[in-house]
Amino acid sequence: MSALATLEENIPSLRRYAWSLVRNANDADDLVQDCLLRALDRLDTVREEGQLRPWLFTIMHNLHVNRWRRAKIRAEVPAEDADAEISMPAPQPASTEMREVLRGLRGLPVDQRQVILLVAVEGFEYSEVAEMLGIPIGTVMSRLSRARDRLRDFVEGRTQPVLRRVK
């Protein structure tokens, strides 16, 4: 398979990751678009086909970090907001559980959100995630523990009166 075909094959999961990471569909596709443009510029630097997927997510991560930093500098908007829009298209059989887990996800600090998405949804190995995010593997594991425990608390507490969790 050509690198271009592998790139194309990864667009759906890049969109899924971007959408899960940022708050709205438009911003997410902006991120994917930038990521694809950058990838097209450097596609010839990828030597092995197996490296392409982690490489794409690394690009996405770097772009996201840059934007997030800029946004943080531009306005002192709280970076985390569990009440942010959680849009799901109408035809989606959005069970309460799924809505709650998404709400919980958006309540996580961004570094925990990245790790749990890359591991649990995108299926990357811990060492790949460490490399993508540029952090030691031990940090990946501790963020994963915190993310999982917090989501568990959130989902299991969902029948109780909803209280915003404060970090």
Binding site: S2, A3, L4, L7, E8, I11, P12, S13, R15, R16, W19, S20, D29, V32, Q33, L36, L37, L40, D41, L43, D44, M88, P89, Q92, A94, E97, M98, R99, V101, L102, L105, I116, L117, V119, A120, V121, E125, Y126, M141, L144, S145, R148, D149, L151, R152, V155, E156
Partner: protein, 263 residues
């Protein structure tokens, strides 16, 4: 850290083991140990079960996004075209400034000030720019016969010339891409060839506008390109490589004699 099989199978069960268990990365040798630990510690088992449930709902809750039709603005074909247009921009604005193309004798368009060059000089600039944009970025794959046939028939209709891509296999070059590209002087045709040692050469062709309907072959030197340009029977040609190639002149001669005869 000490590592041996005994310890691998008997060390204390850590969070890392539990994650690996949930994510399917647990070493087979350690699995029975983790399972025994879970059986003996209901609280840990509940934690692990909740982690698994959370992972499953996350996957389920996000899967629709991966199944959604991909919006047009993320279409790779469109992005490639947009990127090409972007790369053309410098050529356009820099017409009088930076492209130090020495075409033939006498300084060419540089002497004429910052107006757009014409004739064979434009062909040289365009061929050079197209080569730079494509040679480093196009992923090698033989062009579909449809694309090739469409290009060929378009050029024949436009120019009345035979323009099927020349066979350069005797010199070790294989056609990997055939595309229609935009230039300031209208659409043009580009054939990209892969050669020995990863060398790539571009054959660029477009109908000439008014000037230089025929022009003798001349060497050209772009910023990072070298090659030959000529025009014959109203069609301009550029054969471009990224570095000086001994065989390039021979190839250019071969192409000139094979192509451009009126139908």
């Amino acid at each position: 850290m000490k590592e041996n099989n005994e310890e691998k199978n008997e060390g204390p069960v850590t969070d890392n083991d539990l994650h690996a268990y949930v994510d399917g990365f647990l070493d087979a040798g350690r699995r029975p140990l983790v399972e025994r630990h879970l059986a003996a510690h209901p609280e840990t088992a509940a934690r692990v079960a909740a982690w698994e449930a959370v992972s499953a709902s996350l996957r389920e809750a996000t899967s629709w996004k991966a199944r959604e039709p991909i919006p047009a603005r993320l279409d790779l074909g469109r992005l490639l075209a947009a990127r090409r247009a972007r790369r053309w921009q410098p050529v356009r604005v820099a017409a009088g400034i930076l492209l130090a193309l020495a075409v033939g004798a006498g300084g060419g368009w540089m002497a004429r000030g910052p107006s757009l060059p014409g004739g064979i000089t434009s062909v040289a600039m365009e061929a050079s720019a197209v080569h730079q944009a494509f040679a480093a970025n196009v992923v090698a794959s033989a062009p579909g016969t449809t694309a090739q046939a469409q290009l060929t028939s378009w050029l024949i209709a436009k120019t009345g010339h035979k323009v099927a891509p020349p066979d350069l296999s005797r010199s070790g070059f294989r056609l990997v891409s055939a595309q229609l590209v935009a230039t300031m002087q209208g659409p043009a045709c580009m054939y990209l060839y892969d050669g020995p040692q990863g060398l790539r050469i571009t054959l660029f062709m477009r109908p000439m506008e008014k000037r230089d309907m025929s022009a003798p072959m001349r060497p050209m030197h772009g910023k990072d390109t070298v090659g030959y340009v000529w025009a014959r029977n109203g069609l301009g040609y550029g054969l471009v490589a990224s570095e000086p190639l001994e065989t390039l002149h021979t190839l250019a001669n071969q192409i000139r004699s094979e192509m451009g005869a009126s139908i």
